[in-house]
């Protein structure tokens, strides 16, 4: 064999990388399935590719729109399009979320079930009595804009709706099966290589 054909990895390495890749696929499918009822959840997709260390997996967050569900509560907000809600917890940490299940507290602020306050372009968003939330995210009363949910151009806010998780359960079930089968296949290959080597070792030993 010439040096040009020298592979950096042997068969066992390849099979092991395939098993690892299958495990990642399973982990991600299980994570996605677990969040099938998490409003505003964004699923992860895994993409397999070849690298110098064998088969590798790259995780990509899907930005597909989740289904909008009507709830009839005025402070349930859903974003149609891109963008996120910015919420601030008691410790001052700001996080971005697509989950728009808010309730109005006694200071007229919109808070989620974890107690985090929704932020707009002018600080915490307050919705006093008689104010409305427009589809462009503007909170206004009597025609005067009070605050605005910062959103990219073209995105709209739907009041009275929630965005469900964008996880497709059927796709994830297929991924589960795929992961399981490719794991099994890689294990068979690994065992076969192992047996061949074992035979080589024992036969070489017998010849002596």
């Amino acid at each position: 064999m010439t040096a040009a054909y020298h592979a950096p990895m042997d068969g066992i390495g390849w099979a092991a990388s395939a098993m690892n890749a299958a495990r990642t696929r399973l982990d991600v499918a299980a994570e996605n399935l677990a969040n099938g009822s998490t409003d505003g959840f964004r699923k992860s997709d895994v993409r397999g590719f070849l690298s110098l260390r064998g088969v590798a997996m790259r995780r990509v967050r899907s930005n597909e729109q989740g289904p909008l569900r009507r709830t009839g509560r005025p402070y349930d907000l859903a974003i149609a399009g891109s963008g996120t809600f910015r919420v601030r917890d008691g410790a001052g940490h700001v996080t971005a979320t697509r989950d728009g299940a808010f309730t109005r507290d006694r200071f007229n602020r919109l808070v989620d079930d974890a107690g985090r306050v929704l932020l707009g372009t002018r600080g915490p968003i307050c919705v006093p009595d008689g104010a409305s939330i427009g589809s462009d995210g503007t909170i206004s009363r009597n025609g005067i804009a009070l605050n605005r949910v910062a959103l990219p151009r073209g995105s709209t806010v739907c009041s009275g709706f929630l965005e469900g998780s964008n996880v497709d359960a059927i796709g994830e079930m297929i991924d589960l099966l795929t992961a399981q089968r490719s794991f099994e296949e890689a294990q068979k290959v690994l065992s076969a290589i192992d047996q061949t080597r074992e035979r080589a070792n024992t036969q070489v030993a017998q010849m002596k």
């Binding site: 299980a30 994570e31 309730t103 359960a169 099966l177």
Partner: protein, 241 residues
């Protein structure tokens, strides 16, 4: 695979909690003035992905229930926001949207649990009584008609933060704010409907649909546990060949 196992298990636990809430809603679907609850779930962020899901809280859904005509002599319903303020014999005050009252021997209007509606006492010589849209109680006696008291409604800055006292009763909390008593019947405000009841805002069809969804999601997560288990078995077989 352990990660997948725990993520799938957290999904099963979440669906279990979801089912509990739906069944609680469903069992009260026929209770007048009952308000359903909804849970919020969030993913558990871990390094480089999510570790599964967890419930971060629940909230009561205070959307209006449908009003229906009923046969009770003192059935009341609120069309709009607000609550009836009721008291028990110890002076505790609770708030409810359940307007199924009946006249007690002392002339007060009481609900099934014995809580007394604030602001009304019907005199013994009253032959009949009606409640008008603005909450005033009009009685008919042998001498003619007279007004005896007015039902006022309690409004809260943040009703979602009321504490549920079981069934249709709620207690005020610090977070809900103090109750503000308002007179019903104004132009944009709530109105009191006499001879009607507000149905629960839980609809059976929706709840059944939610049960089906939760069940299927539970099964899907159980499959995730199975797949992780199966892969661990395969990994175990590595050393055996």
């Amino acid at each position: 695979m352990n990660k997948a196992l725990y993520a799938a298990a957290s999904g099963m636990a979440a669906q279990q909690q979801e089912l509990e809430i739906i069944s609680e809603n469903l069992s009260n679907a026929d209770v007048a003035g009952f308000k359903g609850a909804a849970a919020t779930f969030s993913d558990i962020a871990g390094p480089g992905g999510s570790l599964g899901t967890a419930q971060i809280g629940t909230h009561t859904v205070f959307t209006q229930g449908k009003l229906m005509r009923s046969g009770g002599p003192f059935d009341l319903a609120i069309d709009g926001s607000g609550f009836f303020a009721v008291n028990d014999e110890h002076g505790n005050r609770a708030y409810t949207r359940d307007g199924e009252f009946s006249r007690a021997a002392d002339g007060t209007l009481r609900n099934a649990q014995g809580w007394r509606l604030e602001g009304v006492r019907i005199p013994g010589d009253a032959l009949s009584a009606t409640v008008s849209q603005d909450g005033s109680v009009v009685i008919k006696t042998a001498k003619g008609t007279a007004t005896c008291g007015r039902i006022r409604l309690a409004e809260f800055a943040a009703p979602e933060f009321l504490q549920s006292a079981g069934g249709t009763l709620f207690f005020a909390t610090h977070a809900s704010g103090k109750p503000r008593l308002i007179d019903p019947g104004s132009a944009n405000g709530p109105a009191v409907k006499f001879g009607m009841l507000e149905r629960s805002n839980v609809t059976i069809i929706e709840a059944m649909m939610e049960i089906l969804t939760a069940q299927r999601a539970y099964e899907a997560n159980a499959k995730g546990v199975q797949a992780a288990d199966e892969m661990m078995r395969i990994a175990d077989n590595l050393s055996r060949g």
